[in-house]
């Protein structure tokens, strides 16, 4: 067993990690979170066991990178000009209502939804990232999804 070239991981998981980052930190910070995730992953990569679950490993790193980023974001006052610039580069094709509703979820629900429904991880892997039991992760994801269903009744029709 040997590790594939890191470029293969970026190729295989890059798009999904970007969606996970959007769910966790929102589209404006998602690109920075993506970059930080893959840089941290690259740094640790040579020590990754060859039989590790790469997807869960990347999502775990993304989770920590997102927490760091949110913390840093709260610490520094963002100049108004920069905020406007970020709004300009907001990802094309994303529904601002959905983005706002995901952002409004409690942290634990948002994380559980992102790692199960967006990343595709099973609940025991989600529980390992969030702490707590698989059942608790399942409940948090279900509560989060139910909240999204209540607040986004139109998505069922418009995004099919």
């Amino acid at each position: 067993m040997s590790l594939p070239p890191f470029e293969e991981l970026v190729e295989r998981h890059g798009a999904r990690v970007l969606r996970v980052c959007r769910a966790v930190v929102g589209p404006d910070l998602a690109e920075d979170a993506w970059s930080e995730t893959f840089l941290k992953a690259l740094q640790a990569y040579p020590r990754l066991p060859a039989d590790a679950n790469v997807e869960a490993w990347l999502v775990t790193i993304a989770h920590r990178a997102a927490l760091d980023q949110v913390r840093a974001q709260r610490r520094r006052a963002v100049p108004v000009g920069e905020l406007e610039e970020r709004a300009d580069e907001r990802t094309v094709g994303l529904d601002p209502d959905l983005v706002a509703q995901i952002a409004a979820l409690p942290d634990k629900q948002r994380h559980a939804v992102a790692y199960h429904y967006v990343a595709g991880l099973p609940y025991d892997a989600v529980a390992e990232i969030l702490g707590g039991s698989a059942d608790a992760a399942r409940r948090a994801a279900a509560d989060g999804i139910n909240a999204l269903r209540r607040t986004l009744p139109t998505h069922a029709r418009t995004h099919r």
Binding site: S2, L3, P4, P5, F6, E7, V10, G14, A15, R16, L18, R19, R22, A23, P27, E31, W34, S35, F38, L39, L42, Q43, Y45, P46, T91, V92, G93, L94, D95, L98, V113, Y117, V118, G120, I145, L148, R149, L152, H155, A156, H159, R160
Partner: protein
């Protein structure tokens, strides 16, 4: 049941995500290089001999591979033998690519790009170092090359060293032919070797 759960990934996919990811990957390669995490950078280069894979460590060009070797296979070999921190990062290969373009365009006889010979050890490395002295437009024989080493009778080992040269073109193993004047083997195939010798004779 509402389709929101299963749709979430597509609802979080942007309209221009392919371009976004290209941009993010380029940024990743640049940051990785800045933080000294880019152990192996690579790119491909179109050439008269088909697509060439070029790979470099921080020390220099470490591998040139022909399409017939299977670029994916070569990248895995680099991950195993050098480091799995391998990224598509063309910037580090700019000089090598330019010099190869000039070589194929009859504008360059010698390569100045720094080399990393770590993939050849012991006697094979000694052979490669001697090979670098075989000038543009000239040829030598396997026996002639062996004579320049510390083991002048190791003609077969010289053949193996040429056949496993990690830096073909730049370290000119194509200039080594059999004593009877026939081509001998070449990592990129005999036709490629013939093409290179014709290019240098023109």
């Amino acid at each position: 049941m509402s389709p929101v759960p299963t749709d979430l990934p597509s609802l979080l996919t942007g309209a221009d995500d392919a371009a976004t990811l290209d941009r993010l990957r380029a940024r990743l390669a640049a940051s990785a290089d800045d933080r000294e995490l880019l152990d192996v950078a690579y790119r491909t280069l179109d050439s008269p001999l088909g697509s060439l894979l070029l790979a470099a460590t921080e020390q220099g060009l470490v591998r040139v591979a022909f399409a017939s070797e299977g670029h994916d296979h070569v990248l895995q070999e680099l991950a195993d033998r050098v480091s799995p921190r391998v990224l598509l990062a063309p910037a580090r290969l700019d000089l090598a690519a330019r010099e190869l373009d000039e070589y194929f365009g009859h504008d360059r006889a010698d390569f100045d790009v720094p080399l990393d010979l770590r993939l050849a050890t012991g006697f094979r490395r000694e052979v490669l170092e001697q090979l670098r002295g075989v000038g543009y437009g000239t040829t030598t024989s396997y026996a002639g090359l062996a004579a320049r080493t510390h083991s002048p009778r190791a003609v077969r080992a010289v053949g193996t060293a040429c056949a496993t040269n990690p830096l073909p073109l730049v370290v000119p193993c194509h200039r080594v032919i059999r004593s009877d004047g026939s081509m001998g083997n070449y990592r990129g195939g005999i036709a490629a070797k013939r093409t290179l010798l014709a290019l240098e004779a023109a």
